[in-house]
């Protein structure tokens, strides 16, 4: 074994802290469960049988590796840059969320838990968790903000069809952050038989690291696929950022490639000059929320501020600690994209390439349009198309006024 003197092995961070971010700020009642989870995860990580089982599930159930699609007609609107989509939208259940869910469900099985609980915003993580619970024969309860159950009614029905119980959360702002609070409360009361299958790279240690490890397959596949296609690394890698799981999933493999720019696009809502946005890194400051120190939208007293995005999956006032760290050291750049810009990019991809993206992923597409115009036609941009837009047809249909009278809401 050789010792590399290079100080920049950004990929090697395993927590609990990423720089000043991360840690474990949780009620004592949950510490034993977090310790148990950390130990089980370390054990699984070292067990070839675990990796074999997860890889087999991905091959035969998720549909991995996901393909890369080049989108030249879309790219004409992005300065002529070469644009490649990593098609996580084609995964079983329709988004990248299944990667994390299958990994954690296998861990839950290893430690003998029989009940999975989850929070969900857009419903993608809830659907993925309900799917895994059905596959492994486990009980499943999904907490979803009441506001989100209304704007993502189709995903609520999907979860119920899969046998999960969906509990609308009516406390606080009735969105994703409150769904996390309710899931933590459930976990405190039922920790003996229950695994909290947290859906993003936030929360207390070991969640940010463990979830990152389960989604980093996205970037590992894509890095090789892009090299095979183009003979080189991409100039930029682009993703939308809510809690940050799809973004860390595609960024991670490139962290130690200094020539590859990493761009995260946050939900700018009505604009960051208004109060209606979810641009945590752009407009927030460091603090403690949902068990870790990161960057979040908050008032002077440290009360979490309501976020807004047309995309339920990005409507979260915090972000995972690894992103806060990557922003603080300048390795990744985070920029807000408004609802309006995201929806224009959404329609553009539909009409130029025949792909209906999730509105979350449309934020990455909008960011790539701006970035492509800056980088010019020689650049290659890799975008994580984190999910498909089936769940968003009603929202987008209403937004663009294409629902026939009587057919819509």
């Amino acid at each position: 074994m050789t010792i590399d003197s290079s100080p920049t092995h950004l990929r090697d961070e395993t927590g609990p802290f990423f720089g000043e971010f991360g840690g474990r700020f949780m009620p004592e009642s949950l510490i034993a469960a977090l310790d148990e989870l950390s130990a089980a995860y370390d054990d699984a990580k070292a067990d070839p049988e675990f990796h074999r089982e997860l890889a087999e599930l991905h091959r035969t159930y998720t549909g991995r590796p996901s393909i890369i699609t080049e989108v030249p007609r879309f790219a004409e609107h992005a300065g002529g840059a070469r644009i490649l989509l990593k098609r996580e939208d084609l995964n079983h259940t329709g988004s990248h969320k299944i990667c994390n869910v299958l990994g954690q469900a296998l861990i839950a099985k290893r430690i003998g838990k029989t009940r999975l609980i989850a929070e969900t915003g857009a419903g993608q993580h809830g659907v993925a968790t309900a799917t895994a619970a059905a596959l492994f024969g486990m009980e499943c309860v999904v907490y979803m903000g009441e506001v989100d159950t209304e704007r993502q009614a189709l995903n609520v029905a999907r979860m119920r069809l899969l046998g999960a119980e969906v509990i609308p959360v009516t406390t606080g702002t009735r969105t994703l952050k409150d769904a996390l609070n309710e899931a933590f409360r459930d976990w405190v009361a039922n920790v003996e038989n229950t695994h909290y299958l947290l859906g993003t790279v936030a929360g207390p240690h070991p969640f940010p690291v463990m979830v990152r490890d389960f989604v980093k397959i996205i970037g590992e596949e894509a890095r090789q696929q892009v090299i095979d296609m183009t003979g080189a690394l991409p100039d930029a890698v682009v993703a939308c950022v809510g809690g940050g799981s799809n973004a860390i999933g595609i960024f991670h493999a490139f962290l130690d490639d200094p020539d590859v720019a990493l761009h995260g696009y946050e939900a700018g809502g009505d604009g960051v000059d208004t109060l209606r946005h979810a641009a945590s890194i752009t407009m927030g400051r460091p603090g403690v929320l949902h068990g870790s120190r990161s960057i979040m939208l908050q008032d002077e007293d440290g009360q979490t501020v309501d976020s807004h995005s047309i995309s339920a999956g990005l409507d979260y006032p915090g972000v995972g600690p690894e992103h806060a760290w990557l922003a603080s050291i300048g390795r990744a750049t985070y920029t807000p994209v408004t609802d309006a810009a995201a929806m224009q990019a959404f329609r553009l991809l539909c009409q130029t390439e025949g792909i209906i993206p999730a509105i979350e992923s449309a934020h990455a597409l909008a960011g790539a349009i701006q970035l492509g115009r800056t980088l010019g036609e020689k650049a290659t941009i890799l975008i994580n198309l984190s999910g498909r837009g089936d769940k968003d047809v009603e929202t987008a249909g209403a937004y663009f006024g294409v629902l026939d009278a009587g057919a819509g809401a």
Partner: protein, 267 residues
């Protein structure tokens, strides 16, 4: 001897005094600013006048993961009415001017981080507060609070849970000053008809690692439960039941409930 043992604790003294004269201490929780700042102060004073030995004032927070529906609703109402952190220091100061019982603040950690841990400790000290109960800050994540509470001589109450390992119970006992908050049952705050045996077992485990001040909270709502708890612990903590009485019957109602609960201490 740890630092926690050499600084005099007003809360530990109050609990000890109640142990000498009665079965033990009654600790009462109310959130600041509910239903209004003035009424929350009057209600806290009424608790002490009706037999509560130690006050626990809750700082309303947007994301209270340890709290059940009754306290969530009250703290959200306080936030909606415009609660600011400085109101907590005002409340402590005004309560201390009227009654002698020690006053702890119960707070989630982010408001303290944003205020500045040192500044928070100084201002709480100046207001006459006794210290902090920190439901989402454990000893192993609380280095800066350990430092600042030692510097200012404030009490610090950490939690112990039925699932805590021996090693973690020892950590909580050695670093708490005032008392160890013994979580009676796995779950969030809120009245429960039955408390079960978990609390008694946990207090026994805390004693075996050296605790001299263990108070039991979560789910406690009746004088009978208090009398039962004080058979093995040093104090009993009541929250949601008091908040509900304040919400439904005002300051007079919460005063009546406090007097009734205090009979459980042998008053």
């Amino acid at each position: 001897m740890t630092a926690a043992g050499v600084i005099e604790s007003p809360v530990a003294s109050a609990i000890e005094a109640s142990r000498r004269s009665r079965a033990g201490a009654l600790i009462g929780y109310l959130p600041v600013g509910f239903p209004s700042l003035d009424e929350s102060i009057d209600a806290a004073v009424a608790l002490v006048e009706n037999g509560v030995d130690v006050l626990e004032l809750g700082i309303p927070y947007s994301d209270p993961v340890m709290d059940g529906p009754v306290i969530q609703k009250a703290t959200q109402a306080s936030l909606d009415a415009g609660f600011r952190l400085r109101d907590a220091f005002t409340a402590v100061e005004k309560i201390r001017a009227r009654v002698d019982a020690p006053v702890l603040l119960m707070t989630y950690w982010n408001p303290v981080v944003q205020y500045g841990v040192a500044r928070f400790a100084d201002d709480l000290r100046s207001a006459g507060g006794a210290g902090l109960i920190t439901p989402d800050l454990t000893v192993d994540s609380g280095a800066d609070w350990l430092t600042e509470s030692d510097r200012t001589g404030l009490d610090r109450v950490f939690l112990a849970a039925p699932t805590s390992t021996e090693e973690r119970l020892r950590l909580a006992v050695e670093n708490s000053r005032g008392f160890v908050y013994t979580v009676s049952t796995m779950g969030t705050t809120g009245a429960r008809a039955e408390l079960g045996l978990a609390a008694e077992k946990l207090v026994g485990r805390l004693r075996s690692v050296g605790s001299t001040s263990a108070c039991v909270g979560i789910g406690v709502s009746t004088a009978d439960q208090i009398a039962d708890i004080l058979g093995y612990a040093d104090g009993a903590i009541v929250g949601s039941a008091l908040v509900r009485a304040l919400a439904e019957d005002g300051v007079d109602g919460v005063a009546r409930l406090a007097a009734q609960l205090a009979t459980g201490t042998g008053r």
